[in-house]
Symmetry: none
Subunit: 197 residues, 4 copies
DNA sequence: TATGAATGAGGGTTCATTCAT
DNA sequence: GATGAATGAACCCTCATTCAT
């Protein structure tokens, strides 16, 4: 009743919140980099070190490894989902839309070395990532496939879930199997998904 | 007190060699089983236990995990190589031969849970397995591809190494992506490898 | 813009003091509840959360865990002390007064899950609690014992400090040793403290 | 078939077994000492260090803390059980037998500082110790109580389990409450357990 | 004063690997 | 050759405590 502006005596909350957000973003950046180098099973300590923060800080922001992995990739997953919606609305053949969308998905995967492995891991701590993929990307992909099937361009036997798993697997890179190779193989796989004439 | 063999204080060499070979084979059998259940990263102790031998014995026979992995799969790799030679000599179209051969390779991979992961792992300890695949399977596959290209059936841009890596990746199974899915996806990939008409 | 109090830029002192006291009391209430549920070793964060204040606030009010523990129980200790004075003045046999007083002390202990453990812990951070018990309860108890000894009812060999420790220990509950068991055992102990006839 | 004496080539198993047993005993000795100093919740590392062995060695011999605690105290528990049987057979009053037996139990407890705390801990990892006490000592104690009740010496309302818990609690020592105090308090408790005349 | 983000010591546990017998 | 006890590095995770705002 005397002070309607709590901020006058306590510090403005914005400052700490902003600091925390910066820390969080530093962690996401560091984690993304470490995941590229070591895969998503990298020691949490390495991520903390790379981000220049203490171990406990990682746990404060991301209580489980899965939450960190999901956070790292969620943004890009969201973009993929949004792209599918846009492509569906464009005046292009559905097969072409699917090809373009898968192309973006491949870009996402091959630049995130380690995600491919994570996607096929049966580690329960990564189940959330599976769920995220299933719940968000599979429907997006399915809508494009359905349109292609409707236009008689895509083999009706193709299912979104299986196709995405296959594409995900094809994007697991290694020595002698680089980004361009993965792109080429995905392209051939898509050729095989067209309706046999 | 039971010296039935005159002056022979130590055993005849053959006996020890036979025992060692039997140990080695028990280890290979055990390792194959454990790899199916837990993947190639299974604890060495589990393999020793399954084979009924001591831990040190595993290390004596296979100083590194990779050597054990390679030994486990070498036999089947050899069979694949031999099959390629036989298929090349059969009076069937080269594309058909390649399809059959890849089918056998897929069978090999999907029944060896964890090998798929091992094949794309960058773990240096598994590099030998890569090498083995490259040196033995890639030439075998290449001979079939070359024949297919010569017959105008296969796209000349397809290289054996890339194709094998892709097939290997497609055979990494998981929940919701089972053996039949992998087989279907490999079949579609092969369709995409045919020469565009 | 809401300066209703002339030149007073900061709040009147009374307001802040009242707020601080309210915070302090919220903390004591929360700590008492958490101690019952988790024991006196509960994470400080849990107490802060239960009180709806920040972690730092707990440390400001109670720099060490022991100070918080002591503060939580001081009020009840004071009541025990006051009760001893009242009982001493009542026209009942001293042995009866001691029995009643111990009964109240037992009630205090068994409803404070974890205090029993704290009382016998050698954790130096809880030494203050020992001291508090010694300085306040032991004299209160001793006055009742002395009266009983004077009346020839209590064995003169009984010392207040030892008796209180023993009673405190008997009140450490556990599965299969509940409140009623502790009460019964304390009653038997008191029987054993009477002068042998 | 050539060698009926495996030990001739492999090393005699006795040597390693003996070494392991020595390690095990060193661990028990070290654990007992550390338990006295720090209680049964002492860091496993401390026990390993005191025994002069590696951390893993502790886990090899005692996969869980409870197993170590139980092993440390099992011998003395067994002796207590045996003593009860002997006392039951002696031509002395049952009340006297119970008193003597409890006296030995108290000796056991007060020299094992930390066991008292362990006995009343609700930590699930120590449940085994509870079980051991219950299954072995409680029946032993009960047989002595039953005999005392039959002779009209002990109050029939006394139960072995409650009495042992109470005695266990009374043996939790601390500054100003030493071994002699515990013994005196236990003696008074036993007085209170006699049938009121 | 109050806050809560950040810190990092501390303790648990697993397993690859060595080596004396 | 075979054994398996011992080792200790490497991870995981929790929480008491500090301190900038």
């Amino acid at each position: 009743m005397f002070r309607q502006q709590g901020g006058a005596v306590t510090d403005p909350l914005g400052a700490r919140q902003a600091g925390a957000r910066r820390t969080r973003e530093a962690l996401l950046t560091a984690a993304a980099a470490v995941f590229v180098e070591q895969g998503v099973q990298a020691p949490i300590r390495d991520i903390a070190g790379r981000a220049g923060v203490g171990l406990g800080t990682v746990y404060r922001h991301f209580p489980s490894r899965a939450e960190l992995v999901v956070a790292v990739y969620r943004h890009q997953i969201d973009e993929c989902v949004a792209l599918a919606a846009r492509l569906r609305d464009e005046p292009i053949p559905a097969g072409e839309a699917l090809t373009r969308w898968i192309g973006v998905f491949v870009e996402f995967l091959v630049t995130k070395h380690g995600l491919g492995v994570a996607l096929q891991s049966e580690d329960p701590s990564l189940l959330t990532l599976h769920t995220l993929m299933l719940e968000r990307l599979v429907p997006a992909c399915a809508s494009l496939i359905d349109a292609g099937v409707a236009e008689g361009d895509i083999d009706p036997a193709v299912t979104a879930h299986t196709l995405m798993r296959a594409v995900g697997n094809l994007c697991i890179l290694g020595p002698g199997y680089e980004r361009a190779d993965a792109q080429a193989m995905v392209a051939r796989l898509l050729v095989g998904c067209r309706r046999r004439s």
